[in-house]
Every structure is written in C-alpha cells, then in structure tokens.
Amino acid sequence: MVEMAKKISKTVLSRTDQLLEVRDFVSDAARQFGFSEEDIANIVLAVDEACTNIIKHAYQYAPDKKIFIAILRNNGTFEVRIKDNGKIFDPEALKAPDLKRNLSHHRRGGLGVYLMRKLMDKVEYNFEAGNNNEVSLVKFLSKKHDSPKK
C-alpha cells in the first residue's frame, strides 16, 4: 500500500501584503502535522523568504502576478512547493552573505536564500522552460528527535 501524499494548496498575488496570509496558511498546516513551535516558526520564515524573493526578484514588484503554494505531507515529510512564472532567479549565484562586507556596501541581498537553507532540511530549485520556476522546501518531522544533540 502506497500512502497518497496529502496535498493542500493556495494561490496568492505577488504582493507583500499577502505574506501574512501565506504565513498563516503554512503555520496551520505545519502545526497540524505535529511540528514543534520552533520548527513551525522556521518553516514559516523559510516560506516567507521564498515568497519575498519571488515578489522582489522574479516578479520585480509587479502586483498582479501569481504565486502558487502547495503543501505535500507524506509520512514524516513536510514539503512546501512554491511556483512562479517570473524571471529566473539563480540562487546558486548567491554566496553566503558576508555581513561585514554587506554593511560597508549597504547590501542586503542573499539573506533570504541563506536563511532558507539554514532553516529547512532540504531546499531545491527547478527551472523549466516557459518561465516555470519552483522552489521546494522540505522539513522532516522526526529528524530533530532522532538526531543526537551535538
């Protein structure tokens, strides 16, 4: 028997005033899945950062574009897939932010991508022809409890 992934989805406009709604949507789903408050906060922040990047970089603040969010829950895996049809955004081009250097150059870029990688267990990007960009953010439910503390 293969258990079907439970999927829920939401589409929002590419505007920063939608971020609160996105966070509530993800937070509710993560809580239902059984994550700790700390994990919920981390997942919510990672999704916020991904959507903010889409609004800023992929859609460059065009307010009428769409962001498609799907949450797939399967066994101990909680995956958030976020899609857009904007400009391709290459996260690999961003190195880990150097805070001191950023300060002296008034640069703020790269923080979001860096945070997403820190906060989630897995972050993957897929770019398809026809401007279909997708980022997948994965958190495993049991990982924290199984791992011995360092």
Binding site: T16, L19, T52, R108, L111, G112, Y114
Partner: protein
C-alpha cells in the same frame, strides 16, 4: 491594517523605537522611514526595543544593515534589546550578534550610551 507599529520616545538623549507586531517585507519600509526620520534629525543614539515584536524576516533585518554604518559614522549606535527567543534566533542565524550590541533589557542599552562610549 496595522500589522506593525513603531512607537518613538526620547529620554536622556537616547531615542527608543519600540516595535510591535510583524516586521516583514511589507512592513519594513515603515521602519526604514522611522530610521530615516531619526537620521534627518541627526539623532544617532538609538535603542530598538523588540519586546512586542512577534515576527521578523530578513527584510526586517536588512533595515538595520542599511542604517548602522551611517549611524556609527556619526558617533552613534543602534543597540537592540528585549528580543524574544524566536526573534533573536533569526538575528543569530545571520551572525548579527558579532556586529550589533544586543541586550536583554532596554535600560542596560541606554546605560551604555550614558557611559559615554557612544
């Protein structure tokens, strides 16, 4: 529609910004305006109290990065206080404690200014 509020008060030559609510890409411009206002008025001794801030994303942290240099060039500082564990965690992940003074309590931060350091 107020997910985020800033309350400004001044005493003993120190400007305190109390933040409340959610600081994200939507509300970060409000904080930018508040800093801009302080700099325009040449107020460089700044304490930011996070007691009632429930949430921060990198867009919010970016605001502090944008203004710290200008403030320090003018012999001032932006000191951060009263963070919840959740908010502190985000600052910590991005390495802010190395570059910013973060205090548990607002009085402590104000005291540092009074000590005459900055």
């Amino acid at each position: 529609m107020s997910d985020f509020k800033i309350h400004h008060r001044e005493g003993e030559g120190v400007n305190v910004l109390e933040l409340k609510g959610y600081l994200d890409a939507h509300t970060a411009p409000d904080l930018e305006n508040a800093f801009q206002q302080l700099l325009t008025e040449k107020r460089y001794r700044i304490v930011v109290n996070f007691k009632d801030l429930s949430y921060i994303s990198s867009a919010g942290l970016g605001v502090f990065m944008a203004y710290i240099e200008d403030v320090r060039k003018n012999k001032g500082d932006i000191k951060l206080t009263n963070m919840t564990a959740k908010v502190y965690n985000v600052f910590d992940l991005l390495g802010f404690p190395i570059l910013y003074e973060i205090y548990k309590d607002e009085k402590e931060a104000i005291g540092k200014f009074k000590d005459g350091k900055k």
